[in-house]
């Protein structure tokens, strides 16, 4: 699946849809495919303060566990309850309905664009 050009990416295979001081965060199609069938998602609570680079959640598949790293330092403003009750959304629509959390942040972090991320994954 092509990596959408309107998104920013991290080396931890997460994507961000940045809108001013807010961003929607999910994992990339590449990450979802590597994880396999996602069966359980553990997300931080709304209002939680998060620090860039730290683990704030888990994405569990039938065969492995992926960690959700905070891509920015800021506050969790919303979590995707739909993906908690239907974890398969992460596989079915990683860049859309499978989003995980929304965050607000102060400093814009250094992120990859779609081309740089595509080069990173070699696909």
């Amino acid at each position: 699946m092509a990596n959408p050009t309107n998104l920013k990416y991290t080396e931890e295979h997460e994507w961000l849809l940045v809108d001013g001081d807010n961003a929607t965060v999910g994992i990339t199609a590449y990450a979802a495919e590597k994880l396999g069938d996602v069966v359980y998602v553990e997300l931080p609570k709304v209002g939680a303060a998060i620090t860039a680079g730290t683990v704030v959640g888990e994405i569990e598949s039938t065969k492995s566990v992926g960690e959700l790293y905070a891509p920015v330092t800021g506050t969790v403003t919303e979590v995707n309850d739909a993906v908690v009750s239907s974890p398969e959304l992460v596989n079915e629509d990683p860049f859309g309905a499978g989003w995980l959390i929304k965050v607000s942040f102060a400093d814009v972090p250094a992120l990859l664009d779609a081309d740089a991320y595509t080069a990173l994954t070699g696909e």
């Binding site: 069938d37 069966v39 359980y40 569990e60 598949s61 039938t62 065969k63 492995s64 566990v65 398969e88």
Partner: protein
């Protein structure tokens, strides 16, 4: 000697081996081994040939006679010791059809669910039995023993509790072996134990968890619900250690408010066996499932949308989560859990209640007789155990009872507990009362269960517990489930890293003899002379084969041996004042259990890189050793490596660690590649665990029991597992030609002093019948078979890693990734297609994702090896056909595998024939063989199982019959 056991154990004869060697380009098996195993580690470099302490091999008949002789040195008295171990009646139909049936005991852990539906159903019966009796929502597929289960529950409580405290409260009336095990384990993980008399109203401190034995170790039944409520209100996780038989009569832990229940299912038809093996249990309330340790069977759907069982929530486990796993334990006690579950199936809820009622009747009658005789019975409320106060006379009474054939539990100089069981007769009750000077006649008296704790809730209402009352029905149910499964009695189980070799009938013979099965783990030393002799001999032989100085047989699983070994290293560093030595180096290729065990031994894990050929990266190792300096505690390596290769640099690796003050742990998982030829102790190992259920022939039991002895150099002996109740603290110490003894005083690691001794006669018999040369022949044959398969399949599937001279050790990793990239055919597809050919799949995606690891062992004959090779070649041709576009990627024999009989019989609209689906044998097969294969075909009971569905929709107890309606 034509009837030598070695020729029965090894599958390939000399003609077959000559043919295999020719293929490999070697003129003798000796030359092959010389080329494969580095000379620098060969045992002959370290000691004179012929100095082995192993006896010359005995025949099968001679071995049985020697075992009979050892058995006769054990004395069977009626044990009324209790304390978690009770005599029980194993229904003969279960003994013959499960315990003595290779269809059950030679199966592997059910990782391939399509060929494991029988034991998965049996385990889910066990889980349902435990959840019903405890009232909790989810039980796992068994734990190693009750005390280990209590430790696991404590760790679960710490993970799950939100309380900011490192305090764990243990009620004082808890089994001594559980208290001792907990005490030995907590220091390494930073937990503080506080022991309180909760029944007496002790105030709870701020704690993350509370453990209460119910009924108590002294037999008393009291209502802990107020304590539980208070503890939970303060945020603690509450754990009740409960007796399953008592729970048929008294209020369940869930109804008392408990979050977790633990215990043993031993008295459900599993002999005491001098301590084990038996199945412990662990159950949790809703919401704690993901924090559970251990294997868990759940319900999912197969490709037809029909219910099917498989292991669920595996992402909790150590092979995935490594140092973040919920537990280090891989093995369960499946065979024993199957027996306990079947005991409940056979007796049903009414039968169990009747047994419990009768046991309780014996206890109340005994209490009444004693009281009538003027003896003080301490408690009014009890189930099967009464606490008797006999000031100053406890020793004399216990001795008199022993002389009269009964074993009582002397608590101290002034008191005794007596536990009755389902075998106790009214006559025995009278006889026991007689030792106290009470002589009233047996009569039925009122219940001693408090009215407020009489169980009112139902249990075991599922049809499976209410159907098989006749022996005919039970026999057929057990046969039906056995027929669902693929075990060693059907064909090869080429699971890499698992060593699925022969479990010979002669080796199994003594397991069910009462002289080995009927002993209580705390029986007096003079009653267990046969066991002590057998254990001392086995200790000596294992030490001899590993190059260490001493060994503890106490760990009842490989993971626990590993933990015991790391705890020994920890104890050693602490004793030297090196408290800062806590870093454990582990290669990236290691099994996840290594990391999980290191964490439980209070160490932090630092990963060492592997080079491109799969060996430990020496530069990275040296850099990490330098970086961690005097905080280095240990290196854990597996030898031969998990990549199935003999690393030549191993002496350099161990020397570098020693030079930096670290200890070397060598994981013995792959010992079958070197036994007889090389020894861990010779090339720098300080401590290792062995898996008697791999190299030394204890059957896998469908996922346990295992035995994981920990062997060590003399300097670690004081820190090996000790036990307060051990009958013989003098363990064998071998130094050069000198055999003496040494005591082990480290932390207890299993509930019982010798772990699971009743299966030790299996390994004893194996070594006794093989001798040094036989064991060498076995190793060489195993290495030959692995190399033969690797070579024969090379042009179809490349072997990922090889050592010097292009040779592998006892297993080979076939790299399927090129095939998958090219054709889309996955490791799963190949594994499931092998089922259609009548094979158990090899190990999938370990240690490298996208590969298959194959270990044929020495026990398979060349015909079976060729059958496997031909199946793999045919599968490659099928994948090529997919690539060529002959079949679509989503509809071909690989993608649709395995094929059930029902799927063949139904409507057929696939682009390949039914015959191709079900009988995919190579065209060149001769007619007679083909006919035999077709007639004896193994049919999997279900189609491919959807793992994700079951993980997303968690159901871990027997599904209602309606679930099977279409």
């Amino acid at each position: 000697m034509s009837n030598a056991f070695v020729n029965r154990h090894i599958g390939t004869d000399s003609a077959a081996q000559a043919q295999m060697l020719k293929q490999l380009g070697y003129d003798s098996i000796e030359h092959l081994i010389e080329a494969a195993i580095p000379e620098s580690i060969h045992v002959d470099q370290f000691r004179a040939a012929g100095s082995s302490l192993l006896p010359e091999p005995a025949t099968e008949r001679e071995t049985i006679a020697e075992l009979r002789e050892l058995a006769s040195k054990n004395t069977l008295r009626r044990s009324l010791i209790g304390q978690g171990y009770y005599d029980t009646i194993t229904p003969a139909v279960i003994k013959r059809n499960v315990l003595e049936n290779p269809s059950w005991y030679t199966a592997y852990t059910p990782y391939q669910p399509e060929i494991s539906q029988g034991r998965l159903e049996a385990i889910i019966n066990f889980q349902t039995m435990v959840t019903d009796l405890t009232g909790l929502s989810t039980a796992n597929g068994s734990m190693l023993d009750e005390s280990t289960s209590a430790v696991e529950a404590m760790l679960l409580a710490r993970r799950s509790s939100k309380v900011d405290s490192n305090v764990f409260v243990v009620d004082t009336n808890t089994l001594a072996q559980t208290k001792s095990l907990i005490a030995g384990r907590v220091q390494a993980v930073g937990i503080e134990v506080v022991e309180l008399d909760l029944a007496a109203g002790a105030e709870l401190p701020n704690a993350f968890g509370v453990l209460i034995q119910y009924p108590g170790a002294n037999g008393q039944i009291w209502d802990p619900s107020a304590v539980i409520e208070k503890a939970k209100a303060a945020g603690a996780i509450t754990i009740v250690a409960a007796d399953l038989l008592a729970l048929t009569l008294i209020t369940s832990p869930a109804e008392l408010g408990a979050d977790v229940a633990v215990g043993s299912s031993q008295r459900f038809g599993v002999p005491m066996g001098f301590g084990g093996p038996h199945a412990g249990y662990l159950a949790v309330r809703a919401g704690l499932e993901r924090s559970m340790p251990g294997r868990l069977v759940g319900v999912s759907l197969d490709a037809n949308g029909e219910p099917a069982y498989r292991l669920t929530l595996q992402a909790r486990e150590q092979h995935i989560r490594r140092d973040k796993a919920t537990s280090n334990i891989c093995t369960a006690q499946v065979l024993l859990a199957v027996m306990a579950g079947m005991y409940a199936v056979y007796h049903g809820p009414e039968g169990l209640k009747e047994i419990a009622t009768e046991v309780h009747e014996r206890a109340t009658a005994l209490a009444a007789i004693l009281r009538a005789g003027g003896v003080t019975v301490t408690h009014d409320n009890f189930f099967d155990t009464i606490h008797v106060s006999v000031p100053g006379k406890a020793a004399a009474i216990t001795a008199a009872a022993k002389a009269g054939g009964f074993l009582l539990n002397q608590v101290d100089a002034d008191s005794i507990t007596i536990s009755v069981d389902e075998t106790t007769t009214p006559g025995e009750v009278e006889a026991v009362a007689g030792f106290f000077g009470a002589d009233a006649a047996y009569q039925v008296v009122a219940s001693a269960v408090p009215a407020t704790l009489v169980r009112t809730s139902a249990y075991l209402e599922h049809p499976v517990f209410n159907t098989h009352r006749s022996e005919t029905s039970m026999m057929r149910y057990l046969k039906r489930l056995a027929d669902f499964d693929y075990a060693l009695d059907r064909g090869m189980i080429p699971l890499g890293s698992c060593t699925m070799k022969l479990n010979a009938a002669t080796e199994m013979e003594a397991v069910t003899w009462p002289e080995f099965g009927g002993l209580h783990p705390f029986a007096p030393k003079e009653d267990v002379g046969g066991y002590i002799e057998l254990i001392a001999q086995l200790e000596k032989w294992l030490v001899d084969l590993t190059g260490y100085n001493t060994v503890s047989l106490q760990p009842n699983a490989g993971s626990q041996g590993e933990l015991a070994g790391l705890m020994a290293i920890r104890g050693y560093h602490l004793a030297n004042g090196d408290t800062q030595r806590t870093v454990c180096l582990i290669p990236s290729s290691a099994h996840g259990t290594n990391a999980a065990s290191a964490v439980l031994a209070g160490m932090s894990v630092v990963v060492i890189a592997c080079d491109e050929v799969g060996n430990v990266d020496l530069d990275d190792l040296r850099a990490k050793i330098a970086e961690h300096g005097d905080t280095l505690a240990a290196l854990m390596i597996t030898y031969p490596s998990t990549h199935g290769v003999y690393e030549h640099a191993v002496p350099d690796i161990t020397a570098a660690v020693h030079a930096a003050g670290g200890q070397v742990y060598v994981d013995g998982a792959n010992l079958n590649a070197m036994t007889g030829f090389a020894r861990f102790g010779d090339f720098g190992g300080d401590v290792s665990h062995l898996n008697l259920h791999k190299t030394f022939c204890i059957p896998h039991g469908g996922g346990g029991p295992g035995v994981g002895p920990v062997a060590a150099k003399a300097h670690l002996a004081p820190y090996l597992p000790g036990h307060f109740a051990i009958q013989n603290p003098h363990h064998v110490l071998v130094e050069g030609d000198t055999v003496s003894t040494v005591t082990h005083d480290g932390a207890q690691i299993s509930a019982a002093p010798y772990g699971s001794p009743s299966i030790l006669p299996i390994s004893w018999a194996y070594v006794r019948m093989m001798g040094e040369q036989g064991i060498r022949d076995a190793t060489a044959s195993a290495v030959l078979a692995a190399n033969y398969i690797s070579k024969r399949l090379a042009e179809y599937y490349p072997t990922l890693y090889t050592g010097e001279n292009g040779l592998v050790a006892h297993e080979c990793i076939l790299d399927l990734r090129p095939l998958t990239d090219l054709t889309g055919v996955s490791v799963d597809d190949v594994a499931k297609r092998l089922v259609d050919f009548g094979f158990h799949a090899p190990t999938m995606s370990f240690p490298v994702a996208g590969t298959l690891m194959i270990e044929p062992t020495e026990s398979e004959d060349l015909d079976e090896i060729e059958r496997f090779i031909n199946a793999m070649i045919t599968i490659k041709a099928e994948a090529d056909a997919v690539l060529a576009g002959e079949w679509p990627a989503e509809d071909n024999p690989l993608h649709n595998a395995p094929h059930t009989a029902a799927s063949i019989a139904g409507e057929w609209n696939h682009p390949y024939s039914r015959e191709k689906a079900a009988y995919p044998y190579a065209d060149g097969l001769d007619a007679a063989t083909r006919t035999m294969r077709v007639r004896s075909k193994y049919w999997p009971p279900v189609r491919r199982i959807d793992n994700a569905y079951g993980d997303r929709n968690l159901v871990c107890s027997c599904p209602p019959p309606e679930a099977f309606e279409n």
